[in-house]
Amino acid sequence: MEEMIIAILRSATPLIYVTLAGVIAQRAGIWHLGLEGLMIVGACSTILGIVLTGSVFYALLLACLFCILGSIIFWFVVEKLKANQIIAGLGLTGLGLGGTTLAVEAIFGTPAAVNAKFGLPKIGYVFGDIFGAFNGLSILVLLMPFVVFGMWLLICRTRLGLQITASGEHPFAARSVGVNPSRMRFIALMIGGVLCALGGAELAAGSLQIFAQNMTAGRGFMSFAAVIFGASHPIGAMLAASFFAIVGALGIRAQLVFGDDVPHDLLLGLPYIATIFGIWLSAKLRGGAKAVSGFDELRD
């Protein structure tokens, strides 16, 4: 049982951070399909940071910096140039995946996986032996519930949260009380950038100490689906992300149990099927959430 909780925590934590980034962006009115790209940037810069500076702190700082830089570009393109969010988000993702590969190649001469000497500090290392079996998890796992709670407070219990939400839902209402929706989106994307950096860091340096090309393997997109499935509510999103993590774990279990009868490749598709199911279910329950699609979206 404990083992299972640890496994779920481990695979869910990076997803949850990134999902929260998606939630706050969604609240502010941005469909954030660039999550995958920012997540890999976070993962890559954390590992490169550790390798190059030898300090976890600087590594995390570097990750935040790059993710924020990516978010600024995204904000500029979407807000200032009024580009289509979905296409621009996919572009950001491509830039992240390609850029990290290029970065590794530029620094090490080959696009090989990068191993760091150490990863993020472990719970046990920081707090001593008080969490028992959970000591081996990274501090970002311990931090996660607090971040979720913090995001919940921010979004659902502060005026800033209301203003961000209003900027997404009814930008004119926001403007008419003196809130600048564009600035709110900026804030949301910056917070999201930091969260993506943490998510990426946890993925690459939480239990591992490795960066490999494309190692996010669709987790960013899954997080985005969790945003929708979780009704863009921090708690709901956390549950949705955990649900996807559980399905992933069950998929592995299924491989071990049914692997002889069902092709493994198809069992590997379970998380994707679960995502589709989640999107369908949330559409059924809450009515479809629809991005501002179309090419001359009328906002305000």
Partner: protein
């Protein structure tokens, strides 16, 4: 190469050996990662047109493109590593096959001897035929020692997803498996991390470079000295008098492929396991001899 670099294993060593060779001999080398099978033929053609002296590529998937392209560029020497013999042979093509699965068979034999729980695991990147063959051999090796041993297999879905590797391996270890053979590129990194988490977890990976990633968990490797092999073949092909149209089968007998125990584990690993592993190694040596002298035939199957 058709598999991404970053495995800390064959591909990486191949690239670095090639670079070394290029530096020594003073020629230009290009490494091209072609992940898209639809582009193989075009890339080879471009290389031919560019006047490359030697083109080395990997895995069976390039066989068809080689067949289509090589005859058009008779002045270029083509080498296919990890491939079947061409039928009929092509004059300027050499193919080299590696019986990597035999190494996995040995790993299976070894695992069956050292496992305390009687449960073994195998983690592949994606379920593609060569990986399936490795697993089947691993399983056969284990069963040859103990018919009741349990062998499970799972795939991470990618050769570049260490996080998934960690998850899969954790589940396997949690389920009582204590020995995992990896075959999953960069995903291996996650499997090794999982093995490092608790003592008593053993993992067998595939390159000496990985030893230090898990001094107390990587007990062995099914080594493939791809880099050396590549360097040999390329150097040969650069010399005058190279003869194409051949197939070389190499592997267990020639030292290119072998089941090797980690020296680091011997120093730092669990003493109990090390004691067992000494015995097991002796058994493995016997089996290896039997394979080499032909008295033992290891079946080859790519079906799961």
């Amino acid at each position: 190469h058709t598999q991404a670099a970053g495995d800390n294993g064959p591909v990486d060593s191949m690239i670095s050996e090639l670079k070394k060779l290029a530096a020594e001999k003073g020629f230009t080398a290009r490494t091209i990662y072609a992940k898209d099978p639809a582009t193989y033929e075009t890339i080879f053609r471009t290389l031919g047109e560019a006047g490359a002296a030697v083109v080395v590529s990997t895995f069976n998937e390039v066989a068809e493109p080689f067949k289509a392209v090589a005859p058009t560029f008779p002045d270029t020497n083509w080498i296919q590593l990890f491939g079947d013999a061409f039928e009929p042979p092509i004059a300027n093509v050499v193919s080299v096959s590696y019986d990597y699965y035999l190494g996995c068979y040995l790993s299976g034999v070894f695992a069956a001897h050292v496992s305390a729980t009687g449960k073994l695991g195998f983690i592949g990147g994606i379920s593609i035929p060569p990986i399936n063959a490795d697993y089947n051999a691993f399983k056969a090796g284990a069963m040859s020692v103990n018919k009741d041993i349990e062998v499970s297999v799972a795939f991470a879905g990618s050769f570049q997803d260490p996080a998934k590797g960690l998850e899969v391996a954790s589940q396997m270890y949690a389920g009582g498996i204590d020995y995992i053979q990896t075959d999953s590129g960069a995903t291996d990194g996650g499997i090794i991390s999982a093995a490092n988490e608790k003592s008593g977890r053993m993992v067998s990976s595939l390159d000496p470079a990985q030893y230090e990633l898990g001094p107390k968990s990587i007990i062995s490797i099914v080594g493939l000295d791809f880099g050396a092999s590549l360097a040999n073949e390329a150097a040969a092909a650069l010399k005058a008098g190279w003869i194409g149209g051949q197939h070389r089968s190499t592997g267990l007998g020639t030292g290119v492929i072998d089941f090797i125990l980690s020296p680091l584990f011997k120093e730092q690993g669990d003493a109990g396991i090390n004691a067992k592993s000494a015995n097991a190694a002796a058994e493995v040596a016997k089996v290896r001899a039997a394979i080499l002298d032909g008295s033992l035939k290891v079946p080859f199957s790519t079906e799961l």
